[in-house]
Subunit: 353 residues, 4 copies
Amino acid sequence: MSKISVAVLGATGMIGQRFIQMLEDHPYFEIEGLYASERSNGKKLSEVLKVRDHVYLDETMDMEIQTMDIKKISANCRIAFSGIPSDLAGPTETELAGEGVAVFTNAGSHRMDEHVPILIPEVNPDQIEAIKDQPTYSNGGYIITNANCSSTGIAAPLAAINNVYGLKQVFVSTYQALSGAGYPGVPSLDAVGNVVPYIGGEEEKMESELAKMLGTYSDGKFNYAGFKVMANCARVPVVDGHLESLVLELEQQPTLEELDACLSGFRGEPQELGLPSAPEQPIIVRKEANRPQPVFDAMAGRPARAKGMAVTIGRLRQGNGYYKAFAMSHNTLRGGAGGSVLNAELAKARGLL
Amino acid sequence: MSKISVAVLGATGMIGQRFIQMLEDHPYFEIEGLYASERSNGKKLSEVLKVRDHVYLDETMDMEIQTMDIKKISANCRIAFSGIPSDLAGPTETELAGEGVAVFTNAGSHRMDEHVPILIPEVNPDQIEAIKDQPTYSNGGYIITNANCSSTGIAAPLAAINNVYGLKQVFVSTYQALSGAGYPGVPSLDAVGNVVPYIGGEEEKMESELAKMLGTYSDGKFNYAGFKVMANCARVPVVDGHLESLVLELEQQPTLEELDACLSGFRGEPQELGLPSAPEQPIIVRKEANRPQPVFDAMAGRPARAKGMAVTIGRLRQGNGYYKAFAMSHNTLRGGAGGSVLNAELAKARGLL
Amino acid sequence: MSKISVAVLGATGMIGQRFIQMLEDHPYFEIEGLYASERSNGKKLSEVLKVRDHVYLDETMDMEIQTMDIKKISANCRIAFSGIPSDLAGPTETELAGEGVAVFTNAGSHRMDEHVPILIPEVNPDQIEAIKDQPTYSNGGYIITNANCSSTGIAAPLAAINNVYGLKQVFVSTYQALSGAGYPGVPSLDAVGNVVPYIGGEEEKMESELAKMLGTYSDGKFNYAGFKVMANCARVPVVDGHLESLVLELEQQPTLEELDACLSGFRGEPQELGLPSAPEQPIIVRKEANRPQPVFDAMAGRPARAKGMAVTIGRLRQGNGYYKAFAMSHNTLRGGAGGSVLNAELAKARGLL
Amino acid sequence: MSKISVAVLGATGMIGQRFIQMLEDHPYFEIEGLYASERSNGKKLSEVLKVRDHVYLDETMDMEIQTMDIKKISANCRIAFSGIPSDLAGPTETELAGEGVAVFTNAGSHRMDEHVPILIPEVNPDQIEAIKDQPTYSNGGYIITNANCSSTGIAAPLAAINNVYGLKQVFVSTYQALSGAGYPGVPSLDAVGNVVPYIGGEEEKMESELAKMLGTYSDGKFNYAGFKVMANCARVPVVDGHLESLVLELEQQPTLEELDACLSGFRGEPQELGLPSAPEQPIIVRKEANRPQPVFDAMAGRPARAKGMAVTIGRLRQGNGYYKAFAMSHNTLRGGAGGSVLNAELAKARGLL
């Protein structure tokens, strides 16, 4: 079986480089082209990366890919993985879908569009069917988004719990990594020895995206889940990996052992289907007093292809009628490029490619 | 009027050095002796500080104090400011109070004792009267504690709000500074580029101390406030200054403007009395999108003597029936040595010294 | 005696804010105007600082200054302190000098111009006389630069040693702070847990500026000192304060005690004249095994106005015919705005204003 | 061919865990036993690692190894890889060698012993023959040390250059990672936003070890190389990877292109023999303006087993009769456990096991 040719949009950026990493030696997909802004047009990837100060992944990057020419974005590919900025992503992705391209995007522009799913294959695989109601679907084009990185980090645990015990309220505070702001992103004078308690739009995204993802799609529209989310978002001096504190109000009152079992035992469609980038155990529960931590747990996930794709939960506690925990996930893998690649794997498995 | 002689217990530690800093040129108090563990006995402070790797405040420390001899703890002083570890503090402070010493302590050992107030003069000045029920009071000895540093950081804002609008629930997540763990404290390999979502006993302290402080003392016992606290505590790579995210449920529904006015306008007994270490405005409300931050706001407070004694609040928001904010305070000044010094100033003003 | 009115150019930048800090309540100078780029024109300083993410010094800044209007740069002042970027500084400062303004600048544009001194009042006070050969001097205008921050940090110790024991070779490696790159400056992803072994042009500046400063000015031209400098420059994740390692080859072979005495006892014209921003002891020698360190020693200098104006030396060692040491100085105070303010104080004392 | 059974001494420490990592699936060696101090005796590795706060490598560690029992050190093995502290290493390693064990150690205790080589297989493979003069050699026991981590980082480049162009003087300043101090090691309050310009004994080690390694062994004794080393050592807030600045005086005056070719083209006995942990190219020369950097270059080395085993050089410059560069190496892989494993591979290839 020949592989499906894919394009990476925004290949020189932080998410773009993570796309390249996730797609190396991929069993379904093969990089056909790298696309970036006008000013990189015609250059080789390695040249562009060397001109910039920051070459995030060059040590591990395949030489064949390093010497690919970067092109201006066009539509001659079956799949486009998009890591371009939101302002550009909006019109570009619409245009590509119109020309028959299946767009899997990390950008936020279309997340709240009707018929566009915010997809996490373990959480809401059936919402992928919404694409059939997109006007461009008939000629093969559609848009599938992944969630904001901080929403992704808790979506699977919340879904696992919601399925069994019913979620009523979610109080979440984030400890978000610097890579979430891209490069150059946060100035070092704001980061070293400091915390910035503000990430533009992030709290609103968490409060709306989780409800959309944990809802349903039927009769041509999304029905949002009924629980409430109260989010406080902050940036901490960590390179990769978002930590999030949780206080949950549930409909039922499971014991902590039941909650642990519910999370540890959670499996979704990607696990059943054995999708290549799916972690064997999507939610890892740590028992140690002081975990999860970014330096130890951001890259959780087995097998090797799924490193950084598992979510880690720890410090399960209970009191005052609430449940408390800390969750950890990799913001540019599970919460970025890896999420979109897994979405494309689900699309292929469901015959949508 | 001659100054009251005071002793600093644990003078070589991080809180001890902050006590020395707060007591330099103090209008009421004069350092009579520095006390530390057996192994420093008979040495000069400057010698001990130079032997250790970490000399926190030497650049600013008065030469006369630097050359004081360190003694083994004894009871020949009117006031003891205690920055010794909790295991040692328990029996030592009991003994000192028994011998007629007024103990103002940063240690947690006696915080939950009956008749021992956890005092923040802006918040619960009347609870100081509890000391009169301590068995040692008749011969002049008593113990007054300050709160845990993360409780202190939000106690004044919560009190200001509770007084007017009634608190029902407090959801708090902390971003706590490294200096809170003392020296050597947190290993650098756990701190650089990392967050540790665990501080032993901290969440329990927040959940009990705030209720005690915002309650009342009458008929010889403390009546705890009725609101609930759900705390998640984490250590971030910041040197000084605890940031805390808040979600509050109130009995009434003030506008954000009303809430801001309530906080900014809050004044307590220390402000009325003009106590030396009291900040003119104990709660500062910042309007910027991205404040408070440790590097900018930890040292808030005017005049000069009250630097690090004000609490800063920012990002007041409202939604889903809740109020949200971030709070910031200096954990070893307002939340440590400075808190105890202000407590002693209140004791003096109320004629208890 | 009325104070001399001064302008601060680049008032919204990092050096500009340090100028404002150094000039508050200054005995000789009074801020007459704040100047910045077109886009701040007509706004109040506090507005501009609040619009930007980073407000470096607002907590300590005088309210009267905070509410000053920012103007477009013009020439109606006796003194201009310049913290503008080098590309802009070149022509702007030339123009101002042409219109009779005494320019004290932190920018590098004119450092290597003939008749323009790179002035450090403790090191080469007589080079100030070079301004008399500037073509604009006759109408009162001239340019005096301070050295690059990493050169400044070692200039006084090298001068002290050179005067007595003769310098032959200087091997220096720098550990430079992030504030040296301004704001936004270094991206946090390059700074957190990392070292960047490159600062554009810095090594060349060190190798040329030190020789110019430690040389002489006579017969209308600068005669460079004869020692050689071999510099390696790197950026470390420190906020303020440049650390530098030194290996020195000298003409004579003093003992370490003699070297220590030579450095500790060094005094210059600013100390003799009692200039307001001059540290009583310009070179502090620490005996501890592990000093100087940025967090402890960057702000060295007494009295209060001279904080951050002293250089700290430590770890004096000897072997293989060489001398070794570490030096530390504050890069935006002594090595930035403070240096220019001290230069202006010298100019005034010498009757050049 | 069956694998050689090996013991890991100090298995619960930072170097011990790196030994385990390097030995997983090793083609020559198989872990027979894990040894640590009395207090871990009889426990499983995973238990000990979980009790401690810091579990450096657990995510990647083989489950079979995680559940091995930790034993008290004994002599029933052919090879002992030693990551125990120097004070303990001295007598323990002597005793093991006496009982016929081949000891490959990271500890410094025996480095300066006669007949004990400080071995880097690319640099001084023939010095391995010195073990034949150790008194215990006749019954199969001997000690081979690797160099101090900061010496290792520059030994190969210096050897490559010395072989061709002759080294006269080496001026080196280090930017050393926190992991070099072990765990708990450096307190975070000394590390965050700071540099500590002192590492006990490090400079002396660099000045003596390099001369021993780049010398020869003949007639039963080591002849030290004649060049001089002047070292300044400092600790920076980096997790893994030592950066070092270099100024070199050479006997000849190659062009920078010649120097680059000399370094890039350097190969040693491990490369000729194809030893499993040998990097294909032991010295990588980077052309970018701002490399090497810890976050990008610490893990340099191909193939996968040799990650962290290559040294990276960058910023080759020339002036004043000197050559300048920055070098980078992984301090606990090439400069720690990996170095000892490669030493054992050489011993096997030379028939000494």
